[in-house]
Symmetry: C2
Amino acid sequence: MIEPDNLFADIPSQLPEEMFTDLLSDGAFRLERIVSRGHTTPAGEWYDQAADEWVILLRGAAELLFEDEPGPVPLKPGDHLLIPARRRHRVHWTDPEQDTVWLALHRG
Amino acid sequence: MIEPDNLFADIPSQLPEEMFTDLLSDGAFRLERIVSRGHTTPAGEWYDQAADEWVILLRGAAELLFEDEPGPVPLKPGDHLLIPARRRHRVHWTDPEQDTVWLALHRG
């Protein structure tokens, strides 16, 4: 009997760090779940990735900041975007009052 | 200015056929959105795919049937599963009263 997993299950009540869980991985891509609860990228740090990343926010609320953009990009459930390789970005804000659940698909 | 797309937007009010929209595609994988509104796989037909498919239901409700399983697998929002290549399956039911929105990631 097939039992699906649920993306919104298995989230601990305490979440001192952002939570990263690989869902699928092969040589070509990696799909991961990210759970944030008020977490942000540490001040002054930027993600600067060698490969494209596609990300969708499915629960909660967040703001992404791109180094080459003037202000943060707010994200609500269902919002998705492709972050090209080497486009420096950071998680500027996630809602501290609820879980923010993302799917991220990393190329390569 | 970056404007995210939204997975739950741009769904026509009339949906005579199931709707398939590629979100990302390269040689290694293809990510698509599927919107169903009471649609099912035609009677007697099975999906029999050459590559693995990962699927997640994000809105609505559905049932998948696998040829080698005795009964349908109900899916609620957040439920995801990997359908291995050549595992024959069909969409047995989707809710006619609301949109069912899926993400499907096809390998290869």
